[in-house]
């Protein structure tokens, strides 16, 4: 039962991240996603301090603000300060992440968070942290509900904004010509990435979430040219990553999130070598 709950949470997180990651890597914003996932940390800690609990709503708001602030700062330093983009990203997210870690250390007694959780999450404890209603009814793992809710939001976002996201990703000039605001959809996507990072934070931590944002979509991208098929493949890969990551972690007695990231990397490596059409070994054999 516990295993199922952990795998389910892992899959939900991997699917939400992967779906958004497809857009990120096609927009060449993979590193912005990386920056956001680091930079939401102070938002999470401050929300924690304000509410004194893992209150999901406050956290999502706190992290959402931080995520959009990060994108804004990166663009501000780049445009107004004429700082090159890579440096602008690097300076901004390390600064915010450092503040987050300091806040955790400074309020170690008051915040139920530690550096380990930041680094690789606490997905193994998901089944222990139950949502119990006031009448005493046990509803099941709390994290499962928060990540599930975020997945629903992401799915609605992608289903209803499919055309807009698709056009602003592949042909921004055409998109603005027919009246779609590229800036609006850019910030909406960044907001969605922030929310997902926060929801995934407890499960896999701030850094390994990047592996789930980038690795499955990158793998799917090597396997297909069709965007819809890429989204579907990413979902399948996410579930596979969660499932095998869990059992490898149990087998070797290590961090589940770490194992998930490792599996995601191995799957990418296999696609890179053997993908039909684009795999480099396949190319060599054909020659």
């Amino acid at each position: 039962m516990h295993a199922l709950q952990i795998i389910l949470t892992g899959s939900i997180v991997a699917i939400s991240c992967g779906l958004l990651g497809c857009y990120l890597i096609l927009r060449r914003m993979a590193m912005v996603g990386d920056a956001i996932s680091h930079a939401v940390l102070p938002g999470i800690v401050i929300a924690f301090l304000l509410t004194g609990a893992r209150d999901s709503a406050t956290m999502v708001i706190g992290a959402g603000i931080l995520g959009v602030l990060t994108t804004f700062l990166i663009e501000f330093f780049h445009k107004k300060g004429r700082l090159q983009t890579d440096a602008s990203i690097g300076v901004t997210f390390t600064w915010l992440f450092a503040i987050g870690v300091i806040l955790i250390s400074a309020f170690a007694g008051k915040v139920d968070l530690d550096q380990d959780c930041v680094l690789y999450g606490e997905i193994a404890y998901v089944p222990l942290d139950l949502w119990i209603t006031e009448s005493g009814l046990i509803m099941g793992p709390r994290v499962l509900y928060t990540t599930g809710a975020v997945l629903v939001v992401i799915l609605i976002f992608i289903l209803f904004g499919y055309k807009e996201l698709f056009l602003t990703t592949f042909d921004p000039a055409y998109a603005s010509a027919i009246g779609i605001s590229t800036a609006l959809w850019h910030y909406l996507l960044m907001g969605a990435v922030s929310i997902t990072t926060v929801a995934s934070f407890e499960a896999v931590g701030a850094i390994l979430v990047v592996a789930l944002l980038i690795a499955p979509p990158a793998t799917a991208y090597l396997l297909t040219e069709n965007f819809k098929f890429m989204l579907v493949t990413t979902v399948a890969l996410g579930i596979l990553v969660s499932f095998s990551g869990y059992y490898i972690a149990v087998w070797l007695d290590g961090s589940i999130a770490g194992a998930m990231a490792s599996v995601a990397g191995i799957l990418f490596g296999m696609a890179f070598l053997f993908a039909p059409g684009s795999g480099i070994i396949i190319k060599v054999i054909r020659r």
Partner: protein, 429 residues
């Protein structure tokens, strides 16, 4: 306050060692980082930093001890491997570099974390302290470890000094370096090796996760103060050292705090101050310059409008109402009002009962602007063969920028023409 003096008197030999260690670690990574920054490889540095973790863990698993030399070899190998993989993925697949960086960074880190958690649960007593690689602890660097890392830091600084010319060429003009016959591949290899080594020593101070800041932020801050690479390297080293010193002090007064984040916050603060306040490139300075130029353009346009009014019937010193000025050119009401006020206090305009008129200096300035405009229109039609009805907008911009030297050259080149392409007179004198 006592601890402040105790620390900065450096009388305690332990404090001395810690300070020397932190200064060397931070300044050497800042110096190498300057070239990484100039080569626009800042995020690659981030990937190397994360990729070092599995190397550290693997060499610990294999050797079972925490000898710094073995850990450095492991870190060096996986750091290098990550760079090679990023290059291969970018070259051999349709994935872009940023995706390759993010992928390698997170997957290597994930593998590292996986190994680290296995080590932690294995019960090997000597593993304590391995997690200091994550957030850094400059103060715990003592004895043999300190000597090893100090030596590498010195090697880094000396290598940059020895190969300064080659590295600079590579950073600014790779193609020129090729034509000079320099072994560009070898220099690139050198820079990569130095970057990996800088990461390996830097993580002692700030840890794996924040190492990118140690490479990028001092250089980014230094870039705002100077155009000279030697000065930039010195500044980056000084900024890096300041943050290292602050980090050593903080880990002295608050031993439970992780040092890395504090060092990063200090260096980021220095960087933000530079971004905003540095003369020349700083954001505030730029905004101020933009405002000044905007005002200048606005004022010159007002003078030009008055001159145009004066041209009708050659009544240049006639009194004009606001409506008359606005009939010649559209102005924002507020911009017109403040511009007129400025022009009066600068002695270009007079105001009598709400009527505005030129002073002698004002007429001369308005006339010059009109002259430059028409000269430029003529130049564009004659020399660039642009149709006369397409030259106005361009001339409207350039008239505020042309210097007296260019003005003289234009006059000479066009042989002191009498009229512009629209047959308007070009005023001299």
């Amino acid at each position: 306050m006592d601890s402040f003096f105790e620390f900065f008197s450096f009388s305690d030999p332990n404090i001395r060692y810690v300070v020397i260690g932190s200064l060397l670690l931070t300044s050497s990574s800042a110096i190498v980082g300057t070239f990484t920054f100039l080569k626009k490889k800042a995020l690659v540095g981030d990937a190397v930093a994360h990729a070092v973790l599995p190397g550290v863990c693997l060499s610990f698993i294999l050797s079972g001890e925490k000898s710094p030399i073995i850990l450095i070899i492991g870190a060096f190998l996986t750091g290098w491997l990550s760079l090679v993989l990023i290059d291969i993925i970018t070259a051999k697949s349709k994935l872009k570099e940023d995706t390759a960086i993010g992928l390698i960074l997170s997957v290597f880190f994930g593998i590292g974390i996986f190994m680290l958690t296995i080590i932690q649960k294995s019960g090997n007593a000597s593993q304590t302290g391995l997690d200091q690689f994550l957030f850094g602890k400059a103060a715990s660097l003592v004895g043999f470890d300190l000597i090893v890392f100090a030596v590498i830091a010195v090697i880094l600084i000396v290598s940059v000094w020895l190969f300064f010319k080659e590295l600079t060429l590579l950073a600014f003009d790779e193609e020129f370096a090729v034509t000079l016959g320099l072994p560009v591949r070898a220099i690139e290899l050198l820079l990569t090796t130095l970057t990996v080594l800088a990461v390996v020593v830097g993580i002692q101070a700030v840890g794996v996760v924040l190492m990118a800041a140690m490479l990028i932020t001092p250089a980014a801050a230094a870039r705002f103060w100077t155009h000279n690479i030697t000065t930039m390297i010195w500044l980056a080293a000084i900024f890096g050292s300041l943050s290292g010193l602050a980090g050593a002090y903080i880990s002295y007064i608050a031993p439970s705090m992780p040092t890395g984040p504090w060092i990063v916050v200090v260096i980021s603060t220095i960087a933000f101050i530079s971004f905003f306040l540095a003369p020349g490139r700083g954001i505030l300075y730029r905004v101020k310059t933009q405002r000044r130029i905007k005002k200048q353009i606005n004022d010159e346009n007002i003078l030009k409008a008055l001159y145009h009014l004066g041209e009708e019937g050659k009544k240049f010193y006639e009194k004009r109402t606001l409506q008359e000025i606005l009939s010649k050119r559209k102005f924002e009401p507020q911009a017109l009002k403040s511009g007129l006020k400025r022009l009066r206090s600068d002695g270009y305009l007079k105001n009598e009962n709400g009527y505005w008129s030129f002073t002698r200096a004002g007429k001369r300035k308005g006339q010059r602007t009109v002259k430059l405009h028409r000269l430029w229109e003529l130049y564009l039609t004659q020399y660039l063969r642009i149709a006369p009805d397409h030259v106005h907008d361009d001339a409207d911009t350039i008239e505020h920028i042309l210097t007296p030297e260019l003005e003289a050259r234009l006059e000479k080149l066009l042989n002191y023409p009498k009229v512009d392409p629209h047959q308007s007179e070009i005023p001299y004198g």
